[in-house]
């Protein structure tokens, strides 16, 4: 009997049970409160769940598969780069958590686009953002499915298609049936499994390698650059700094990360979400990245670096514990997919539908929510059949696009009264053009070796300020809703 498969199937069974249980709860909610329950879990989530939703949503296959893969390929330089993301819960919840929480309650916002709608009162912004968010999140979701399928296939011996089905269909069940309620409960279970899996993998790898000293000596003999903070100049400080901005300051623009800001119960939950999130992301990031680079000293010739985590799980820990590691890695990926699915669905089935058809019934929105979520997941699974090889760069591309579109309109929109819809539209369009050019025909736009998102975000913020200043200010009603005393 393969204990890795048995323990993974047990974990999968629990998630399906959560989906069915959550479906019963959501179905009992009156139709008038359905959206609030489906997208924001009744706005009653505590600190640990908020911490896990944000941390689990942001720490994707990029952390659990590509993180150790990059440290395997480029040594300790990528431990440094990955460590920049440790405070993403702080950088999301602290800057906008309170103001989003206040406004969300004032205007009864349950989706992140509801906040944009209230702030800019512009149909064009909703349509544009729905388009860009969907365009960038779908391939991002696909990479998550690819990562999960590769891990399952590697560890269980099943084919890629069967592994893809096993890893993705369960998400479909608990997201489509349970919405945010199902996702939040599943995330709690998954958070425990992820953390256990990371600890088991790290300890197993260090023991198997004979300790840090031995591993470092082997790495030095393979290539001394593995011990360098810049991989011998391949990743200079400016490049590292631009990625620190992308996963640090700019993270406030990530729409699926805003779920936590929309769902927390009170500021006590917000504070716990901030520091508990930091502890969790520190554990996940550091332990897996260290395992990846130490893994290089054990097996120097893996054809696909992203396969180092499953390789370690298979070779350095006992079979049954390997199942926990497998479940942990897949769980980390599933939490991201779930958060993305909620965002895309809310954008299309709630916001876009209401913009195009203002008199749509609550029953229709409910039906559209489930159909849209099922369709989005199916499309992402379809993309995953293409099996892209370098998922880390697709992930950075998607994150860069998302923050370029949303950073200025979110941050300045929440803190600068003078910002208006024209500034937001110009900022989004300018940012997308610059980001597109920087990634394709004009790579030299990426100044001083920075990631293309760096110039795109900075310049789009400048455009937001210039265009807003040159056009009429927003109405007094908006000012009162967002910053006024009631």
């Amino acid at each position: 009997m393969n204990w890795a498969i048995v323990s993974f199937l047990a974990y999968t069974g629990i998630l399906i049970a959560i989906g069915v249980w959550s479906y019963r709860i959501v179905e009992k909610v009156p139709i008038t409160k359905y959206e609030n329950e489906f997208y924001a879990a009744g706005r009653g989530l505590g600190g640990i769940v908020v911490a896990l939703i944000i941390a689990g949503g942001l720490a994707s296959a990029g952390t659990f598969i590509a993180g150790p893969g990059m440290t395997y390929a480029y040594g300790y330089s990528w431990v440094l780069i990955n460590n920049f993301q440790i405070f993403m819960n702080l950088l999301l919840l602290a800057p906008i958590g309170i103001i989003v929480g206040i406004v969300a309650r004032r205007v009864n916002a349950v989706t992140y686009l509801d906040i944009f709608r209230a702030r800019y009162q512009s149909r064009a912004i909703i349509v544009i953002l729905t388009l860009f968010v969907t365009v960038f999140l779908l391939p991002y979701m696909a990479t998550q499915f690819v990562g999960a399928a590769r891990v399952i296939a590697r560890m269980t011996g099943m084919g890629y298609l069967a592994s893809l089905a096993l890893g993705s269909l369960v998400v479909l069940v608990y997201c489509v049936l349970g919405g945010m309620r199902g996702t939040s409960l599943a995330t709690l279970i998954q958070g425990i499994v992820i953390t256990l899996g990371c600890i088991v993998l790290f300890v197993g790898t260090v023991v198997y390698a004979g300790g840090f000293q031995r591993s470092t000596e082997i790495l030095a003999a393979q290539d001394i650059n593995f011990l360098s903070p810049s991989m011998g100049g391949a990743f200079p400080p400016m490049f590292a700094f631009s990625l620190a901005c992308l996963t640090g300051y700019f993270i406030v623009g990530m729409p699926h990360a805003m779920l936590g800001a929309l769902t927390y119960k009170n500021t006590r939950a917000l504070k716990r979400g901030i520091w508990m999130g930091a502890i969790l992301v520190l554990l996940w990031t550091l332990l897996l990245c260290m395992a990846g680079v130490i893994g290089r000293s054990l097996v120097p010739d893996l054809a696909v670096p992203d396969e180092i985590a499953p390789w370690l799980a298979m070779h350095v820990v006992p079979e049954a514990l390997g199942g926990i590691v497998l479940a942990g890695i897949v769980a980390g990926i599933q939490t991201t997919v779930a958060a993305m699915a909620i965002i895309i669905t809310s954008s299309i089935a709630s916001n876009l539908l209401r913009e195009l058809k203002p008199d749509v019934s609550a029953e229709r929105v409910k039906f559209a929510s489930r159909v849209t979520m099922g369709a989005c997941l199916a499309i992402a699974i379809g993309f995953a059949l293409l099996q892209p090889r370098l998922i880390q760069w697709i992930i950075f591309f998607s994150i860069g696009g998302l923050v370029t579109a949303t950073f200025g309109p979110i941050l300045l929109g929440l803190f600068w009264k003078r910002g208006n819809q024209w500034g937001a539209i110009a900022s989004i369009c300018w940012g997308m053009v610059i980001y597109g050019l920087g990634n394709t025909v004009v790579p030299q736009m990426s100044l001083w070796g920075t990631h293309p998102s760096f110039v795109a975000v900075i310049s789009s913020v400048i455009v937001y300020v210039l265009v807003s200043s040159a056009t009429p200010p927003p109405s007094e009603e908006i000012a009162r809703t967002f910053w006024g005393k009631r």
């Binding site: 300790y76 440790i86 405070f87 309170i98 300051y249 007094e476």
Partner: protein, 89 residues
């Protein structure tokens, strides 16, 4: 009509500044130490910059964050209509 700013917005602005200051200090510490400490002599069998800049610094800052979040982020009521305060929960 006179515009009265909600005092919680001022709190929100201060927390934004606090979060970015905290992250900037972390960034300065982790990058400064990583690029300046050097590789040898090893510490705990790891390159010196890894042990100091990428293990000790993140752990210290995470512990510091618990104090900063609990000490400097005030409990504020999230709704104004119901008298909903943190103390009631």
């Amino acid at each position: 009509m006179k515009f009265d700013e909600d005092p919680r917005i001022r709190v929100s602005r201060k927390i934004l500044a606090l979060a970015w200051l905290f992250f900037s200090l972390y960034l300065a510490a982790i990058m400064g130490l990583s690029f300046n400490v050097g590789t040898e002599p090893y510490l705990w069998g790891l390159p010196r910059w890894v042990a100091i800049g990428n293990i000790i610094v993140p752990v210290v800052f995470v512990l510091l964050l618990i104090f900063v979040a609990e000490r400097f982020i005030p409990d504020v009521p999230m709704t104004e209509d119901t008298g909903d305060t943190e103390e009631e929960r």
